[in-house]
Symmetry: C2
Subunit: 345 residues, 2 copies
């Protein structure tokens, strides 16, 4: 590895002079500048980032904490983060919390995520990252870990709004778009298959559902509310109940694509034609949506943009004046496929 010293010797100057021309922090004579630049070109020298960081107190590295990189929105978001960071000459170190499987430790006790996350954060602090982004839903785990740290911090994807800096997407508007789309296609009897009743997205998407119905002066009918747990089998099971309804709805707003897949598969098994006999709209636009027997019309969450904006926000925090509070809520958009039919009025 060539160092400043090598260049200095080659050009016959002091290492300070070399450093000055590299960073342009001081005016040197044209003559010496040229000699130094030639020496640099000769050796394809690049400054040692560790030494530089140590001296400057900035690493140009940010830590990204993800719940599990295999979870799809997460990979998309990380992709967006990386792209933005790279553009600005920053690097990321990735720490994966393996939340999808690390529920129990070797003694079969439920893992204390706080201490687990804490380990990852400490590791990042030791590497002197310039900031941290947390990507995921379970942000409550991290609150009292990150609070005492005076380091720029951004939540990406998190739905909570109690944090100072976060980037998320608009669940309410997304749900309204979906339901309005059904209404605009002539549907009046619309059921909803919600996610887990306790979850935040369920509440928000439900709010959008009800608002849309109200705006269109449609009645809110108790018998049209169903709850699953976000997983495929619950879509399949709940669909049985929906189809058994005395007066069956003409359309269903299903709160995610996995459950929608279950709905579609059960409906088809029962001999129903989607969308002619029943329209279905999903949420999330997962890969699966394109590959169902009936391509699913659904709501796309702007995951990469969430990544982009998170990185942008964090970089602003590290460099610029500290913004006190900053939240970005990005809009979703509707992906039109083939699972919704028009109804003749």
């Amino acid at each position: 590895m060539t160092t400043l010293k090598d260049i200095a010797k080659l050009a016959g100057v002091s290492i300070a002079s070399v450093s000055y021309v590299i960073n342009g922090n001081k005016q040197l004579s044209e003559e010496t500048t040229k000699r130094i630049n030639e020496a640099i070109a000769q050796t394809n020298f690049a400054p040692h980032s560790l030494a530089k960081s140590l001296r400057m107190g900035k690493t140009l590295t940010i830590g990204v904490l993800v719940e599990d990189i295999r979870g799809m929105p997460i990979a998309d978001i990380v992709n967006g983060i990386e792209e933005n960071l790279e553009e600005h000459g920053y690097q990321m170190i990735l720490s994966d919390l393996h939340m999808l499987e690390k529920l129990y430790n070797q003694y079969d006790q439920i893992v204390d995520y706080r201490s687990y996350i804490n380990k990852s954060v400490q590791q990042m602090l030791r590497s002197h990252v310039d900031g941290i982004i947390y990507v995921g839903l379970h942000d409550r785990h991290i609150d009292n870990i990150i609070d005492p740290i005076e380091l720029p911090f951004v939540y990406a994807y998190s739905h909570g709004s109690k944090h100072d800096h976060y980037v998320s997407y608009n669940n309410i508007d997304g749900a309204m778009d979906a339901v309005n789309y059904l209404i605009n296609h002539g549907h009046r009897e619309i059921a909803v298959l919600a996610g887990h009743p306790d979850s935040f997205p369920t509440h928000q998407r439900m709010e959008g559902f009800i608002t849309s119905l109200n705006n269109a002066d449609l009645p809110i009918r108790d018998e049209y509310f169903f709850y699953g747990d976000w997983e495929y089998p619950s879509g399949y099971e709940q669909m049985k109940k929906i189809l058994a309804l005395p007066n069956r709805p003409t359309a269903i707003f299903v709160m995610n694509d996995l459950m929608a897949a279950g709905c579609i598969n059960f409906a088809q098994e029962s001999g129903l034609k989607i969308p002619n006999d029943l329209s279905i709209i999903g949420f999330d636009n997962r890969e699966i949506a394109s590959y169902l027997p009936v391509p699913l019309t659904t709501i796309q969450v702007p995951n990469r943009e969430i990544g982009h904006e998170s990185a942008k926000m964090l970089l602003e925090l590290t460099t610029g004046s500290t913004v006190d509070k900053n939240a970005i809520i990005l809009p979703c958009n509707l992906i039109e496929r083939a699972s919704v039919a028009s109804i003749s009025l």
Copy 2:
């Protein structure tokens, strides 16, 4: 941030002594050791990793170069890598090549990946990573970049065998497992829907297919060979041809799950019952396999294990004696679902 100096002052010793007790590189008196440890405990001190790395010439960081983190096997592999590295106290910096979309640059010219990858690698070198793992299929892009670098390097997932150090999975055996499974269920007329004809996995899986047929003394029938391009629509289209065959096969070996999804969907549309009228087996075990109208029996590629082994191999290379050549080929395993039926002989 507390430093060695702070601890030293607190304990009334020199910073060298503190360093020695932390790293256990020298025997100090019980008395002073205790005083120093107390001071450390008081301040929750952790050594500054940049300074340490600078001095030691080791960063305990490895670079992971991925083609696109959103590609599913890649996320799984990265997950495995991360887990293994963390266990050994290493960190990773992730660099995403965004291969899925960065085909053209701003001037609409095809991106020169070599120079693009080179930028990422240079960036990693500047961060003084202790080694690099490349995750993906398009390893030919990187060959002449990495060759001149004398840094431990491992290819993960790469199918090529011309490299010194790589970890991959056994396509041939995987395909044989799939075909043998069909044969063991009584099938004699077995078609194959291959991936893109030029791709390496196609060749290998085809080899497995033919070997299995030969081993069972079954004829190789030209009219039973079909080719797609790994994507869903090609599965759908090719299935039309397969069903139009004068004597239709009783089972199909489809070389990936996406095409298998296309096959199943078209078959169902045509009124065929899977698996009773026709058995289908896939490859890859993507998420989608569980959510098809007929849950797909398929071959699972050991992605996380590939990640594990890659990390392990790289760490051995960085620390231990340099192994000249080292290749690991991991076995696949069959996931039994519901898309294959037994045939009465």
